[in-house]
């Protein structure tokens, strides 16, 4: 176990190193990315620019700059932004994380519940119109660009029908911290949650259904039926439980990506200051420290989540436990 853990750790470190070097090199290879003149300000004099270059260490060779940046990011944690002078990058990220976490978690709850319902019902009514309708809905969900859906949702709830009783409760776009007002938090996030969940509901419902259909052809499902169990129990206790293994591995990947900033389109459309949007802004502003921090953050999450999924696997699938 310890060895596996160490191996995981090593892999994580390797992946992080690879990504950080890549980001770093790409940044400095980007023409016009040299942040000196932007930091110095418009119309700054050459002397000021030289000072800034020195102050920020841009006159050092790249490996030294890289090492300094990594030290500031991971050890002293006082890496500052190039675009917003004086802004410390790590606290920014830490402040953005709860937003993304709220968005992803709420969305995940919705998509997990709804997709399990949809997938199971569709599998139970395999081949009927119920099945076909549910799967068609799922397909449409997969096919809607999330940013477009978000815009349309905003158009409806914020403008067109904001004055009607249906949507008058919808607050302005933006995030309300849970600690500040749990109800406000919920109201602010419910529409983003649903928007985010639509795609995943489609994906998961379809995956789950096809898994359940495959599983229902397995011998053990036949055994369960031969025992005299009700079809519901067979489907849920034996079928669903077994299918959850694929479901969870998929979920781990997707959830990790969302936490890591994958929900940026949703964050952008709904004005949520989360990690994704932060990263996007950092990218638009070519703000290397923030890019580096957020990419590292997201990579850490993806890798961590994968490790977590492995652990959950152990609970869900005894075969994995025995290293089979």
């Amino acid at each position: 176990m310890l060895k596996a853990l160490l191996q995981r750790f090593g892999q994580t470190a390797f992946v992080l190193f690879g990504i950080s070097v890549l980001v770093f090199l790409v940044f400095f290879a980007t023409p016009g990315a040299d942040p000196t003149s932007r930091i110095a300000g418009k119309n700054a004099s050459p002397e000021t620019i030289a000072k800034v270059r020195q102050e920020y260490g841009f006159d050092h060779p790249l490996p030294v700059q890289y090492a300094t940046m990594m030290k500031k990011l991971f050890i002293t944690q006082d890496l500052t932004s190039y675009a917003n002078r004086g802004e410390k990058v790590v606290p920014e990220l830490i402040k953005a994380a709860p937003v993304t976490l709220s968005l992803a978690t709420g969305g995940a709850v919705i998509w997990v519940v709804v997709s399990i319902l949809m997938g199971t019902v569709a599998a139970a009514f395999r081949g009927t119109w119920i099945d076909r309708t549910l799967m068609a809905i799922g397909l449409v969900g997969i096919s809607i660009p999330v940013f477009w859906l978000g815009q349309v949702a905003n158009l409806i709830t914020q403008a067109r029908y904001h004055d009607t009783w249906l949507f008058s409760w919808v607050p302005a776009l933006g995030y309300v911290p849970f600690a500040e007002s749990p109800i406000g938090w919920f109201k602010a996030l419910i529409i983003p949650w649903c928007t985010l969940a639509v795609l995943f509901i489609g994906v998961y419902a379809r995956v789950l259904r096809s898994d359940l259909v495959t599983v229902s052809g397995e011998d053990f499902m036949r055994t369960a039926r031969a025992k005299g169990l009700t079809p519901t129990r067979v489907l849920l206790v034996h079928g669903l439980r077994t299918s959850m293994i694929t479901f969870v591995s998929l979920f781990g990947m997707d959830f990790a990506q969302l936490i890591g900033g994958g929900a940026l389109l949703t964050e952008v459309v709904f004005g949520l200051q989360g990690v994704g949007r932060l990263t996007y802004q950092a990218l638009s502003a070519l703000d290397l420290p923030l890019i580096m921090a957020s990419v590292m953050y997201s990579a850490v999450f993806v890798v961590l989540a994968n490790a977590l999924v492995d652990v959950i696997y152990i609970f869900l699938d005894p075969r994995v436990r025995d290293g089979r």
């Binding site: 053990f220 031969a226 005299g228 005894p318 075969r319």
Partner: protein, 337 residues
């Protein structure tokens, strides 16, 4: 040897599937009976419809395109028209089933014990601990070493033989009157197979259950069964007491099948007697005798479907006995003279 009133009475069972816009008849007019405490062997080549027959009795075929005709009576009760809900009380309690591959027949994510407990608790209102006690006892009866610990293990942690024993224990958990075993030993090694067959043979005395043993191994039938039914391409070729069938097969297919098995003792034939060709696919099945294209004795009369006729102790679907041209008595080849 067996009770008089049949426990299970199958009459003219036909099963067909819809495929590619056509009805594909898989089994046609299969009839047989199983009496209390009897062991009936059903043999036939792969694809001859053995499993479909068993699944049809258990009503476990959930293919939407399936159509089922004929009658299945269990203790006089018609099963084919029984509502699903009522049928569930029969499944597992009155008629239990075990499957060919013990590797895949258990749900991988629950312990063996949990799954046997579940089988008990669906049909009887007993507490968890009572169920577990019974599970452990059953496992012990099946010759599972250290049954308490084994009950807490997952399917993949057990060897094939143990798994099959657990499977049988699960099937026996509610003391069923009939156990349908679909090739229970095919996936096992010979030495383990011998153990399992031994177990099955003793069921009727220990548990009073009748057994429908599906296999493609004539040896297994000879060693285990009281009666035997030979299926060929979805139809009954021959059925009767095992001793009679093995002594003097009345159907050329049965005879050829027996001949093509290499003997384990005695002189070795230079070449094995073999049957040319392969069984027809359901859709290409001749309207007459299905075996005719491969049969030594095929002649004009074989173009019409031969009815089951009584010959000696068995029933046989062949024209030869009616024509008085019965097959020669089989040399007891293989047995040491």
């Amino acid at each position: 040897m067996a009770g008089d009133a049949p426990l299970l009475d199958v009459r003219d069972l036909c099963v067909s599937f819809r495929s590619g816009g056509r009805d594909v008849p898989i089994i046609e007019n299969v009839s047989f009976t199983v009496c209390e405490r009897e062991i009936l062997g059903i043999v036939g080549e792969s694809g001859s419809g053995k499993s479909v027959t068993a699944m049809a009795i258990m009503r476990l075929i959930d293919d939407p395109g399936v159509s089922l005709r004929g009658s299945v009576r269990f203790r006089g009760q018609e099963l084919t028209t029984l509502p699903q809900k009522a049928f569930r009380h029969i499944r597992g309690r009155e008629i239990a089933m075990i499957f060919q591959d013990p590797m895949t027949a258990f749900t991988p994510v629950y312990t063996i014990g949990w799954q046997i407990d579940e089988a008990i608790r669906v049909h009887e209102r007993v507490s968890k601990s009572e169920a577990r006690a019974r599970t452990v006892r059953l496992l012990g009866d099946m010759g599972v070493p250290d049954p308490e610990r084994t009950a807490n293990r997952y399917p993949h942690q057990l060897s094939g033989g143990l798994r099959q024993r657990a499977m049988i224990a699960m099937a026996l958990s509610c003391n069923p009157a009939l156990l349908i075993a679909d090739e229970p030993t095919t996936a096992l090694d010979v030495t383990v197979q011998a153990q399992i067959l031994d177990l099955l043979r003793n069921l009727r005395t220990d548990y009073g259950s009748a057994v429908m043993l599906i296999t493609h191994d004539m040896g297994v039938v000879a060693e285990t069964c009281d009666h035997v039914m030979v299926l060929y391409s979805g139809r009954v070729a021959e059925r009767g007491p095992a001793s009679a069938v093995f002594e003097q097969p009345a159907h050329p297919y049965t005879a050829a099948l027996l001949d093509s098995i290499p003997p384990l003792t005695g002189p070795r034939p230079v070449r094995l007697p073999s049957i040319a060709g392969a069984p027809p696919a359901p859709l290409e099945r001749p309207s007459g005798c299905a075996f005719a294209p491969r049969c030594h004795y095929a002649h004009d009369a074989c173009v019409t479907l031969p009815p089951l006729v009584r010959f000696a102790e068995q029933d046989v679907a062949c024209v030869l006995p009616t024509e008085g041209k019965a097959l020669p008595t089989r040399l007891l080849h293989g047995a040491e003279a």
